[in-house]
């Protein structure tokens, strides 16, 4: 039957990408349907019970600045919070939290159920309705036809998912969930660039069988960091420690003894796995000289004994898993609650996507999350939010939006995905961002809240808190720029205490704050420096901005140059074989990638500045380089 209601946006899948997509689309004002094969698993953390980390935490803060759910849900479900790289500069600091799976899921579910414009429905999707290269809706397992103007696909690892444990394997989407076979077949028919990836997960351990007295304990930070810009420590549930054990030579012998039954090493698994998240069998083979690997035992929640042993992801047969787990200190009697496994799944190479995450081949169809070849909850959620927003914008005939590389990690990720494609699961790292010094966790709100507000993603409470903070920062910065310190009036003892030595001439406080060894609180103790601001976050931001100012100013030229090219649109029907002077290799590459702008073309590997010049000439002759209308900012 045809479902009686026609939606603006349908989101297929209820993981981290799907839930953020549905929330964003509905928040922005689209009538949205979220379809999941199982409403009970909405917002499920299917792998490790933690959110954030270097690069990933940055994404979570950006999601939060755009009104997304992940940071806020983590504040409600987090059972341990830490700031990584706390001893290093702010640009590389990141928040990481252990989360209670159940509390996290509840926090997401509550938001979904209470979101205006958002409908939930439990049915697996089997088919897409496509008319004249435009998606018009989806068909579920029961044959229900749902129509919508746009569709967001967030199928995760479910497309033709195949789970491996030792030499046995079986189709599944995630442990305990069925795979999406029909949908995968249907998508393969659409002739999209499809590939196969692999990821893995460790066996889970019953905490009652772990001897914690032998293990090193790891607590969260005090005071507890908060994830959301409008979150509070008081939202946090009871906090738990993690525990650290390690593999040893005996563990490694056990693993080596099982390699002949490993699907990874016997060639059964074809998909490419991530280099930065290797299975334990991979680690001891590639780094054979390492005698030991640290294993973090992470609690899965407050109401369960289950532990997640981070570091022993494996697809070895169960008997080997049990022996290797029990060979480690404190784990001698460990009971495995769920076996570890590897999963292979279909993904669609994101070179087939626009920077709105819409398919270049099927109009109105958006892709987000692991289906695009990324890994990680945070990467998925960030894409989901962007795809949901752009699906909404298209349904309302508005221009799409994607942050630039200098505006957000989200922009870096999408640009990397569409201009480089994916050959192994893509994970965010700060080293991927050339503008790392300005893409910080601490200023994600300053970078993105305003644009989020414009699109209707940011509610009044967040907006007011943001405006107050932004104003306070600007005021205090101005004050520091206008407050001068004169060496004649500055007592030597104060100068030495705060600045190390007397100043040679008059300085504005702001200039002094730029010095590496000077901090805000101390600076404000100088006579005549005035009253420090009371909001710590404001003081912190003023200080950080002063410290990085020189570096960020220096990058401006580079950014401006990149911007020129990013504003030049390339026609989607451009045949690069007709561009005079381009080498065959460059022609093929451009025809394959079909970049949307000259900027994207220039970032594709192997595309030279000369090729870009030739392209510009061609545009001038035939088409004329148009300005894109997509940059709504």
């Amino acid at each position: 039957m045809d479902f009686p209601k026609i939606f603006d946006v349908i989101v297929v899948g209820g993981g981290h990408a799907g839930t953020e997509a549905a929330l964003a689309s509905a928040r922005a004002g689209s009538l949205t349907l979220l379809l999941s094969h199982n409403i009970e698993t909405l917002g499920q953390m299917s792998c490790n019970p933690s959110i954030g980390g270097i690069g990933k935490g940055h994404l979570v803060k950006e999601i939060d600045a755009l009104g997304g759910a992940m940071a806020a849900a983590t504040d409600e479900g987090g059972i341990q919070f830490r700031i990584l790289n706390a001893s290093k500069g702010h640009a590389v600091r990141a928040t990481r939290a252990q989360a209670d799976r159940i509390l996290y899921k509840q926090a997401i579910r509550r938001r979904l159920e209470n979101q205006e414009n958002l409908w939930l429905f439990q049915q697996a999707v089997d088919d897409l309705m496509v008319e004249n290269d435009r998606v018009t809706g989806v068909v579920t397992q029961l044959g229900l036809r749902f129509r919508a103007k746009t569709v967001v696909l967030t199928a995760g690892t479910f497309l033709s998912g195949l789970i491996h444990v030792g030499q046995s394997n079986y189709p599944a989407g995630r442990a305990g969930d069925p795979p999406a076979i029909s949908l995968a077949h249907r998508l393969r028919e659409l002739n999209l660039p499809v590939g196969r990836l692999k990821t893995g997960t460790p066996p889970r351990i019953d905490g009652r069988t772990i001897n914690f007295s032998l293990l090193q304990e790891q607590h969260g930070d005090t005071p507890e960091p908060v994830f959301s810009f409008i979150g509070k420590t008081s939202q946090h549930p009871r906090q738990l420690p993690c525990w650290i054990t390690e593999t040893n030579l005996k563990t490694h012998d056990i693993i080596r003894g099982g390699l002949d039954r490993s699907p990874l090493f016997t060639g059964v698994i074809e998909g490419v796995g991530p280099r930065y998240c290797p299975s334990i069998e991979d680690k001891i083979t590639r780094f054979a000289d390492k005698d030991s690997h640290q294993i973090y035992l992470e609690p899965e929640g407050l109401t369960t004994h289950e532990f997640y042993p981070n570091g022993i992801s494996t697809s070895l047969p169960f008997d080997v898993q049990l022996a290797l787990v029990r060979s480690m200190k404190g784990m001698e009697n460990a009971h495995i609650l769920r076996p570890g496994y590897a999963i292979e799944y279909d993904y669609f190479n994101p070179i087939g996507l626009k920077n709105s995450l819409e398919s270049k081949h099927i109009n109105g169809l958006f892709f987000a999350g692991q289906i695009n070849g990324t890994t990680g909850y945070e990467e998925a959620a960030a894409q989901g939010l962007l795809a949901g927003l752009n699906a909404h914008l298209q349904a309302h005939e508005q221009a799409s939006w994607c942050p630039r590389r200098d505006e957000a990690y989200l922009g870096v990720m999408v640009d990397d995905l569409i201009t480089s494609g994916v050959t192994e699961p893509y994970r965010m790292f700060t080293s991927r961002a050339e503008y790392r010094l300005q893409l910080r966790e601490d200023n994600a709100d300053l970078r993105l809240t305003e644009i989020g507000r414009k699109f209707g993603l940011v509610d009044d409470a967040r907006w007011q808190a943001f405006e107050t903070k932004r104003e306070a920062i600007a005021l205090e910065e101005q004050r520091l720029r206008k407050t001068w310190v004169n060496p004649k009036q500055l007592p030597e003892v104060d100068a030495v205490r705060v600045l190390g030595k007397q100043i040679e001439h008059e300085y504005a406080l702001y200039e002094l704050l730029r010095r590496p060894a000077v901090d805000y609180a101390n600076l404000l103790t100088l006579p005549g420096a005035g009253t420090p601001v009371s909001d710590e976050k404001v003081a912190e931001q003023v200080e950080i901005q002063a410290k990085y100012q020189g570096y960020i100013d220096r990058q401006r030229d580079e950014i401006e140059r990149a911007l020129q090219y990013d504003e030049m649109a390339l026609p989607s029907d451009l045949n690069y074989r007709e561009v005079r002077g381009l080498s065959i290799e460059v022609q093929q590459k451009l025809n394959q990638f079909m970049p949307e702008t000259v900027g994207q073309a220039a970032r594709i590997s192997g595309i030279t500045p000369a090729a870009i010049s030739l392209l510009l000439v061609h545009l001038k002759r035939g088409f004329g380089a148009a300005r894109t209308g997509q940059q709504a900012a």
Binding site: L84, P274, K290
Partner: protein, 447 residues
């Protein structure tokens, strides 16, 4: 984030064909042109008026004199502010002038970049655009060939080594930033500093040995030796004869060495005329000889002047025995006019000339230049090489900034990244993904 106005940087290049032609033109285009004009000429010439001026170097010494014409945006070839400097056509003079412009903030234009800008600013109509593709193709191919030539041999190997060392250091630094939770061997700061110092030092050496610029600025020292009356001073006058900046007698610090400065193709040569060099029993003269010998050790080239009429003279051999053995030497037989039939055994180390008739003097000049390391390259090759050196210099700046920021890991990493970006313009792109690949192959990452 506030919207920023596009601001193309300022580019410069020699706009005339290579060679020793009469007039040479340097074109500069971009938003920084007026500031550059003021810094170079002392003022911004009125738009579209040819003005005769001096083009001084950083010390105020005149490199060349000629016409400066300023074209105000949009009424210029590129549509941006453009300054054209028309000077003498000699390669060295033009290159000195170009380097001066670069030191004032312009960067070397890429192949076809002026045309590309013209084009982006709608200064070229559709018909003209047809020709532009061909031009870009041709200049690109030529630039690529030039770059290849510049990159051959020792220079290339050194740069590749540099990059490998830098990648190694970056790998350690970035791994620490991106993977703080892995139990990586934390970077030993003294090892890090040593590594950085080593890279920096290698970079300096590469720069010093590869730089024509220093040759242009500082010139080469040439020791002129030979028996009395073989015609040293007439040869000197002859060598310097046609040049602009002429022989100026500078009294030597001792009576044994007379210094003179001449220019060949714009390259300054400091000639040390060691008049008294011959075997002597005289004690006083021997002391002078010792000093002479010291002076000669500092020379870049020794010119041994002999009489073409008396080859294989025993007195010449005695002089040779006294010369430092580690320096390049050119044996010049003068007075070729008196014995035209002279045959040479090794033309790489010998040449026969006549200071009197001027015969073979041009060849001698070129030979001297070549022996002191001056490569009279076609301008394309020069540009390519200059681009590489420029990249090395920029990289060097970032490495010293890294040195200052070494206790602030994210700033340290940023400077290293920028240094590598500069070197990548020589050796080819190195993406963040390549760097991550290095990290994953070196460290066991992933819990």
């Amino acid at each position: 984030m506030t919207a920023v106005q596009s601001k193309p940087d300022t580019i410069a290049a020699i706009a005339t064909a290579a060679g020793q032609g009469g007039v040479g033109v340097i074109r500069i285009s971009g938003r920084g042109v007026s500031a550059l004009a003021v810094a170079l000429l002392g003022e911004l010439p009125p738009a579209r008026h040819a003005r005769y001026c001096e083009f001084p170097d950083a010390q105020g010494l005149v490199i060349d004199q000629g016409l400066a014409i300023f074209f105000k945006s949009p009424h210029s070839y590129t549509g941006e502010d453009v300054l054209e400097l028309q000077g003498h056509g000699g390669t060295a003079v033009l290159q000195l002038l170009l380097q001066r412009c670069l030191s004032l903030g312009a960067r070397l234009a890429e192949a076809g970049e002026f045309t590309r800008r013209a084009f982006l600013n709608n200064k070229i109509d559709l018909a003209q655009a047809e020709g532009v593709a061909d031009l870009i193709e041709a200049t690109t191919a030529q630039a690529a060939r030039s770059a290849m030539r510049s990159l051959q041999g020792e220079f290339s190997r050194t740069v590749q080594n540099l990059v490998a060392e830098l990648i190694n250091l970056r790998m350690l630094v970035e791994a620490m930033l991106d993977f703080p939770e892995e139990d990586l061997d934390s970077i030993d700061t003294s090892r890090r500093d040593a590594q950085l110092a080593l890279i920096s030092q290698q970079l300096n050496l590469t720069l010093a040995s590869a730089q024509q610029g220093s040759l242009l600025r500082e010139g080469a020292r040439i020791a002129l030796v030979g028996q009395p009356n073989v015609g040293k001073s007439s040869l000197l006058n002859c060598l310097a004869g046609e040049e602009i900046a002429l022989v100026s007698d500078v009294p030597g610090t001792t009576r044994d060495v007379v210094r003179q400065e001449i220019q060949i193709n714009g390259v300054p040569l400091h000639i040390m005329d060691t008049a008294g060099l011959r075997d002597s029993q005289d004690a006083v003269e021997n002391m002078g000889m010792a000093r002479t010998h010291q002076t000669m050790q500092k020379a870049d080239l020794i010119l041994l002047l002999c009489d073409a009429g008396q080859p294989n003279n025993i007195a010449d051999d005695e002089i040779i025995a006294l010369l430092p053995k580690n320096l390049p030497m050119l044996r010049v037989y003068n007075k070729l006019d008196t014995c035209p039939g002279l045959t040479l055994t090794d033309s790489s180390k010998e040449i026969a000339v006549s200071a009197k008739t001027g015969q073979n003097i041009t060849e001698l000049r070129l030979k001297i230049l070549s022996l002191v390391g001056w490569r009279d390259m076609a301008s394309g090759a020069f540009m390519a090489r200059e681009r590489h050196l420029n990249a090395l210099q920029q990289a060097q700046l970032h490495l010293s900034a890294a040195q200052t920021a070494r206790d602030l890991p994210e700033l340290f990493a940023e400077e290293l990244r920028l240094a590598q970006t500069q070197l990548s313009s020589i050796t080819g792109a190195f993406s963040p993904d390549d760097l991550l690949g290095e990290i994953f192959s070196r460290f066991c990452i992933g819990k």
